[in-house]
Symmetry: none
DNA sequence: AATGAATGAGGATTCATTCAT
DNA sequence: CATGAATGAATCCTCATTCAT
């Protein structure tokens, strides 16, 4: 069960496609298998189950996000610039993997407790990163904590809006959100 | 099937309690019935099904929210003050019905398409209200639209955070969010 | 639980009406109660249950049929005339209580074993009567037995046909059946 | 979901066995599955539901009956002979598939509206065939129509009788019915 | 006698998961 | 590795029946 394998990647891609259309509960393992042009049983060769498959999607997205953020961190520069670049990096990843982002940010909440636990954990790790950077920019711990979560929530909602009205300019909206928070945090 | 009846209220209360713990899909009608100390069949005397019960919760919360906002609207005052009071009114309702708010804002996403359609509609109605007020405060239509949704998303996330760490001060966090957006919108 | 009572009669009438429209299984006790303008519980004051109510309908129809046949039997006359009059008497009752006849003849078969047992018993009692008369008219026991049942079956089917196409002349069809059997039995 | 498959045939056979004992409503999908030594879910791999399974039985019997009648039709011969052979063909099929015939003719009446509609349609198609042949034999349209239905009804009843008293000679009784109708129609 | 809210056993159906091929 | 037929636990909902008022 190698973490990387063409088949495994295909399955995850298929899963993103189907999950993003129907959501976690309304999607059957059969549909994912069909989308990937394999038999149902094959899914279980690469994932221990539907939940594991979903968890893998979460991990994939957050892996990419964390990677982007940490890559940015290694660069020197003042705190505000670093924060700005972190946020940009995150948004860039999310916009690049739009469907995946929508699945993870919107479609998964309220699913299985096990799933939510995992999502929460990964969520927290990521939020803490932002909290740190926000504090370095001079925000109080309380403001930083709330700010980080609020920003994530705002972005999630925007993805939900876009999911319903694909004609809207997701990129422009994400930018609008950034502007609001930047000013809101008094960093403008 | 009167819209108001002690039994019906009890069932909705029980439903909020169970849904907020397990989410829509992981909650069985049996569990709701048990929580309300009635038999399964009784649920169907007051609601046409599990979905209808959930929809009733959504409608209850949004009914209260809309009522609070519209009540505020009838008062005179300048646009900025009215907006401020609208936001306050919403938060006040959400804080008052914390569990219900958590169920509707967090636990229902990604449930049945039918549910999500209903939620979306009600969501939209409410967002439009805010968009109007934001525009009256001088924001461009684009900023207003994104701003309204972002604010709702930020609040939702805060509820999710609080759900996991009940020790946090929900009210303070909601206030923090308001401050961020207020400044973000350039209304401070 | 008097066998006769205005309420009881009303309930049976209502039952005939609803059963004849939807059949035994598709009819709920609630519907019968509503048709009779009483509460559900009231049905159980006059009948031990849905089955008992249906059995009562069977018994009512067969009671009337048997009464008509036996009344005819007491008259003198040759065997063939008596048979002719018996058949006429039966058909007259069935045509008079068309809906009831349809319920008992068509809609009940294939229902609960208990119901079918009862129906069978009453059916048998009645068939035996005809068998006797047919034998008196000179038919062999085998022909008489089969003939009696076949005649009942033919009539039942005609009622089913009429139920589907109410525009058809039930009386004329019943008469047609009589003619066929009369000749078929070699009594013409 | 191939129309023909060993499993599918086994399920239909099991269904005939159980339906013929308990009727449509009193038979649970579980019982059918058990009779076929498979799990409940397996039934749904071959049929879309209990109703579809039953409909398949109806169609199977009528398919065989129609086939037998139409095969006979293609042969030359005078109208009376053809009719005689048609009736013989029908009875032959029914006698060959006794249990199936009992299920369709007796146990299905008064089931679900949807089932009954289907049964009626198929019934009608078949009756029309007989009506045509009867008219070719010189019967008036009215007599032919009633005659066809009466004959089917008579046969059904005989099946019901035989179901209760398996010791009776079904074949002899069917023959007896044929004789009665033959004479009744004045074709003897 | 009459009511109708409440009951809860029972039934059809779904779907994640397994395993023999 | 891959398959997909088979599994059966789990779930929503119905409805005949009861009983406190």
């Amino acid at each position: 069960m190698a973490r990387t394998s063409a088949r495994r990647q295909e399955l995850m891609k298929a899963a993103v496609s189907v999950f993003s259309r129907y959501g976690y509960h309304e999607t059957g393992v059969r549909e994912i298998a069909e989308e990937a042009h394999v038999a149902v049983g094959t899914v279980y060769l690469y994932f221990s189950g539907k939940t594991d498959l979903f968890v893998s999607l979460i991990d994939m997205l957050y892996g990419r996000v964390m990677e982007a953020v940490l890559a940015n961190r290694r660069q020197s520069g003042n705190a505000v610039t670093k924060l700005e670049e972190s946020l940009e990096a995150v948004v860039k990843v999310l916009l690049h993997d739009r469907d995946l982002a929508r699945v993870v940010l919107i479609k998964s909440i309220g699913s299985e407790p096990m799933l939510e636990d995992h999502l929460w954990h990964v969520h927290q790790t990521f939020a803490n990163l932002l909290v740190e950077e926000l504090q370095e920019c001079g925000l109080t711990p309380a403001t930083a904590q709330v700010g980080a979560w609020a920003w994530v929530g705002a972005l999630s909602e925007i993805f939900g809006l876009w999911a319903r009205q694909p004609a809207l300019d997701l990129e422009a909206m994400a930018n609008e959100v950034r502007v609001i928070f930047w000013k809101g945090w008094g960093l403008g």
